[in-house]
Amino acid sequence: MVDFGRYPVGPVPPLPRPLPAGPETPSDAQPDELPDLERRPTFWSWISHFPRSLRCGCYLINFTPAGSRFVTYDGTLRVECHSNGRTASGDLYQRRTMVVPQPHVPGHPHIPPFASAVVLAPGPKPGAGIPILPRSRYRYYLSVTQIVEFFTTGNSFTLGFDRWRFNPAAGFVPPFWTNEGSFTARMTWLTAPSGYPSPGNYLEGDVKDAGGNVVGRLTMGWVSTFLRKATVEIDRVAQSESPLNNGAGAGWKAIGQAVGWDISVDESDSNLAEPSGASWSDAECHQEMLAKRDQSNLDVEWRYHVLCVRELDSTSRGIMYDAYAGDSNNVPREGCAIASHWVIPNSQQWGTVQGMRFGAATAPYFRTAVHETGHAMGLYHNTADNGFMNTTDTIAANSLSPGSAVFPGNVLWSYNADDAARLRHMPDVYVRPGGTPFGTSYATTPISPPDQVLDMEGVEVTVSPLLDAVPLGAPVRVAIRLAASGNGAVEVPSTVSLRSGCVRGEVTDPTGVVRTFSPLVLCLDDVPRRVLSKGQGVSDSLTLLRGGQGALFPVPGAYRIRVEVRWDVGDVEVTAAGSANVMVTPAADDEHARAAMKVLSTPDTLLTLVLGGDHLKEGISAIQAALESKVLRPHYAHVEAKRLARRFGTRKPDLKAAAKLIDDAAVLSPAEFIAAAGFVAESKDRASARALTQRLKKKVANLSVDDEVRLVLDKL
C-alpha cells in the first residue's frame, strides 16, 4: 500500500524577485557605518570612480546577532546574474558550540577538574568553496529584496533582505516559516581575511531592522562561480546502462551548470546483485541505496543516488522512491531508480524509439534519470514545457501536436524557468537530500532546539525501553543514562529523574503526531551536580503514561521516544538527547480493551501513578480496572503496590498487600526496584518486609539491572 500521508501546507517563502541592475541614486546613499570595525580600505576604495558590482556566484556568509556570545550563523548567499539584473537568496545555519571538557590537573587525578567551558566551533573554511552545513542546524532563509550598487562612486552598497525563520518543530501546524521582517545592510568591500579565494570580493556591514536598529553584523566572501554543489552517484546492475548523457553532448555537468549547480558524477557500482529477480520494489531500492552508496553523511555532501535496474515494481520507467512509505529511514529524497528493461510501446507518440528497450534509448533514458533526480531535489511535475520535470508520457503525447518534432526530438534539455529558479533559490532544506520530505509534512525533519540552548558535546544520553513491546494502556518504562563520552570531565546534573526537573521529552506516535512530557518543576541552579569522567554516567528510569497533550501512547503501533536533559553550564543552558523505539501492541481481548480505554482516558491515572495516595478516586478506579485485566495487571502492579505501601492520612502502610502485588509477572523499572526497597526499609511489618525482599531479590536475579539496584537490595 502506498501511504501518501500529508503534504506541505505551510506558507513557503517566496522566491526572490529579479533585481534590476542600476546605480544607487544619491538619495538612497547612506554614509558608511562601521563604528566597531577597523577600516580595511581596499585597493578599489582608492579608485572610487570605477564602478563596482557584486560578483555573481556563491558567497560564504556569516551573521552574528548583536551582543551574542554563543550564537552565530554561517551559510551561503547565492547571487545569480542574468539579463534583467540579479536574483539572490541565502540560507543560514546556526554554528555549533562546543563544551570543552577540562582535564584533571596533571599528576593530581584526585583533584576534581575545573568546570567545562563553552566555545563556538570553528566556522566553514572559505578555501573549501561552497560550504555544506548540517541539516539539523538549519535556521533561516534570506530572500534578497534589494541590491543597490554604486556605479559611480564609493565602495559599498545596500543589501536588503527578508529573513524567514524555519520552524521544523511546528510539526503539522502551519506556518512552518516565520517572516521575521525586512532588514538592510550597508555592505562595504574590504580586503578578505586569509583563506578566501578572491580577496577583492569580500564585504562586511551592520544589519539593521526596519526601525533602523543595528541587530547584527553580516560578512560575505565570494567562494564559487556556482550557486550550489552536489554529487550524483550512479549504481547499476550489470544489465543496465549508466545514464551519463543524452547521446548528444548534454550530461550531468552541463545540465547542472545551466542552473548554477556544480554537479560531480560518481559512477560507482556496476554489478549490483538483484535481490529478488529482475524487478525491484521501492523497499529494495531504498535498502540497496543505503548499502551501496559511497558516502552516507548528507551533512558533509549533497549526494543523490541513482539506481539503475532492469525493472521496477512500482512503475515503468523511473521513480523517486524515497518518499512516503518508501522512505524507511525517514531521510527523504536521497535517491531514485530507473528501469532499463522497460520496453517502449509501439505507438506513434513514441516516435523514433518505439519498441526499443528503454536503456538502449539513450536520450529518454538519461532524461528519466535527470527527471527523477529532479524529484529528489524537491521538484514536482511541471507541464508548462517539455523540460525535465514534465512527464515522459506527456512529452511523448505532445509530439503528436501539429508542428512538433517526433519524440524524443521534442524533449527540451533544460529545466523550465520556474524549476530553474527553484533549484537556484529555493531554501536549502527544500532541495538538499535529507531535507524536507517530498510532498509530505515537516514532522520528520530534524527538531531544532531554540538557538540559545546549546548541544552539549562529550555527553551522550542513552534511552533503553525496559520492554520492546508493551500492551495498549500500559505505561512505558525507559531507562536513561547520561554519560561522558569525550575525553576530560563534564559537569552534569547528579540525577536524571523526571522529578529532577532537568528531563523532558516527546513521543512520536505511528502517524507522526508528537506529544510532549515535561517535569513538574524546572531544572534549578541548585540541583546537585557531579563531574563525570569518560565512561562515567548517571542513570534513572522514567515511567511514561501521559503528557501535556493527554495519553502518550493512545493507539497501537511503533512509537519513538526522545528524551532530553537540560542544565546550565556557567550561564549557558545546554542540552543532550537520546531516543529509542517501542511498540505498543493492540488490545488482546475485550477486558483488556476496556481497561486500556479507562486508563488512557483518565487524566488522574498519571497523578495516582506519580503521587499515590487515596484521594484521587478516578485515578485509583482506573488503576483498579487495569489490575483486573490480566494483560495490564503486571504493568500496574508496582503502581498500586507503591500506593498501598505508603501511609496516607490515617491509613497505615499495607506492605503485605503490596508484597502480594509484586509477583513474578510484575514489571518494575530499576528505579521502581529501588523505590520498593525503600518500602521494605521503612516498614515495621517484618514478615511482609521479608516476603517482599525475597520476591524483589528473586526478580532482580533474572534481570539485567545496574549494580546500584543489586546493592540496594543486598542491604535489605
Partner: protein, 97 residues
Amino acid sequence: MDNPLVGVWEKTTVSACSEKYPDTLDFQPNGIYVGHREPQGTFTIWDAGAYSIVADDRVRISTANDALVTYSFAIAGHTVTFTDSASCAFTYRRTGA
C-alpha cells in the same frame, strides 16, 4: 469503448484524507491528465502524468513521484467517486454539467 473519465472535473469532497488530491482534474483522451490545487504551486499527489482504465471500476494513475497507483472509481451521472488504498473516498463533478 468511450473513456468515461475524459473531461474536466472539480472536486466536491472536503475531507482531510482527500486534501492531497487536486481541486481540478483534466483527463484528456490521449491518456494524459493534469491536476491543480489552489493556491497555485500547492503540492498535489495527482499533479500530472498518465492514466489508464485497467478495469470497469479501476484506473491506474501515475502520481507525483512517478509511482503507478491503482484506484477504484465509480461514475454516477456527472460525478465520479475515487477510492484510494487507504479507503478514502472523494468525489468530483464534471464541469459544465
